[in-house]
């Protein structure tokens, strides 16, 4: 699956748009609103906040001490709000590159080995994809599935499905492709 980098900066700006929050709250809100996202470490939240503050997109908005360490909460600045709006208005480039390990692996297999090796990989990958597809479908059909979860699972399912179609058609074409690579 394509794993385009999500802009943590902009996601945090978005989470701050509803009012000031400190790092711990941001991490929790992130995990709740973006289920199945790549895990966001606390360290990454603080590092990103520091960068956003340096660039004037957020500013400290108070401190809170509840018997524990200091917690600084941050607020969106006017500049931060403008940066967020620009990001939201920008259309993402639709697949500018075919940046897939699956694709690269089959090409390399065909270069260094034979069509059988590529086939073996395609079949094993298809099996792994199918198993993951089934897991995510079970998440969706669970009686208590929340819409957050369903929509996140849908995204992954659509991409796995696209990969699976590609794996199927490439399996059919792999012998011809091997001949072309070695002609």
């Amino acid at each position: 699956m394509n794993s385009e980098a999500v802009s943590t900066q902009h996601v945090l700006l978005g989470l701050l748009a509803r009012g000031p929050r400190h790092g711990y709250e941001l991490k929790r809100a992130h995990d709740e609103r973006l289920p199945r996202a790549r895990p966001l470490a606390f360290g990454q939240v603080y590092a990103t906040l520091a960068r956003l503050q340096r660039d004037g997109l957020v500013s400290p908005a108070g401190q809170e001490r509840e018997g524990g360490p200091d917690r600084t909460s941050y607020a969106l600045t006017g500049e931060g709000r403008a940066a967020l709006d620009r990001w939201l208005a920008t259309v993402e480039p639709p697949m500018p590159y075919v940046a897939s390990t699956l694709f690269a692996k089959v090409v390399v297999a065909l270069m260094v080995a034979d069509a059988e090796r590529a086939r073996a990989y395609l079949i094993a990958q298809r099996r792994a994809h199918t198993e993951r597809l089934r897991e995510l479908t079970a998440v969706k059909t669970a009686p208590a599935a929340a819409l957050d979860e369903v929509i996140a699972a849908d995204f992954a399912i659509a991409h796995l499905d696209a990969d699976l179609r590609w794996l199927h058609t490439t399996l059919e074409r792999v012998a011809d492709w091997h001949r072309e690579v070695h002609s």
């Binding site: 059988e116 199918t130 597809l133 059909t141």
Partner: protein
């Protein structure tokens, strides 16, 4: 005793072979997807398992009984009582309302009119289409029609539901909603499901998947016996 099985099932249409000896076991309570490219014989297999078609050779057994040897009347009774069937296009009776369509299998099985209507309304409600109870299929959306067809297939509380590309005529979202309902209800009622589809996304709703290729079970299907990646021939 096995629940539902095919043993060496062969079936041709004229001179064109559709199934070339399919052996398959369906366990009670499982949701089994039968997948494969167009023309691989998956619909024919469903028709043979459901007792709609008779194989030219081989056996189909249901709870130990050779249903392929049964006369049409007995197989037809089986389809009205123990089996439910759902096709790509709902195949509702155009002249009847939704509730009448859903009540039909019960009426054919001898249930009283009032009781059949009550059961039909319960199933339409379960599938979220109670509002079309008194509407004929021609005035319903595709999704509503397919939900009615599903209600009709489940109203007799069959032990096996056969579904042949049940979402093939629906848009993605509606198809997924119908399938989610199908799977949830099947699990609730412990209904066994044989789901024929060519789409991996749909097959993923099942517990297990069998792939057909040129009328036979594709052993390399999901790579269960696939060569180890990196292994060399």
């Amino acid at each position: 005793m096995s629940f539902l099985q095919a043993r060496g099932v062969v079936r041709a249409y004229g001179r064109t072979p559709a199934l070339r000896g399919v052996t398959l076991d369906v366990a009670e309570g499982e949701i089994l997807a039968v997948t494969g490219p167009s023309g691989c014989g998956k619909s024919t297999l469903l028709h043979c398992l459901a007792g709609i078609l008779r194989p030219d050779a081989g056996q189909v057994t249901w709870c130990g009984e050779r249903i392929d040897e049964w006369p049409e009347a007995a197989r037809s009774r089986l389809r009205r009582t123990e089996f439910g069937v759902l096709f790509q296009f709902g195949q509702l009776v155009a002249e009847l309302t939704a509730a009448e369509n859903v009540a039909l299998p019960l009426l054919l099985a001898g249930t009283g009119r009032r009781e059949a209507r009550t059961a039909a309304l319960t199933w339409l409600e379960r599938l979220g289409v109670a509002e079309v109870a008194d509407v004929p299929p021609g005035e319903m959306s595709g999704g509503q029609q397919q939900r009615c067809a599903l209600a009709r297939a489940l109203v007799t509380e069959p032990r096996v539901l056969f579904a042949d590309e049940p979402t093939g005529a629906l848009d993605t979202l509606t198809g997924e909603q119908v399938l989610t309902q199908l799977v949830r209800l099947a699990r609730q009622q412990r209904t066994t499901v044989v789901l024929v589809t060519h789409e991996p996304r749909i097959a993923a709703y099942a517990d297990r998947e069998v792939t057909l290729r040129d009328g036979a079970v594709d052993q390399s299907g999901l790579g269960l016996d696939a060569p180890v990646p990196g292994g060399h021939r």
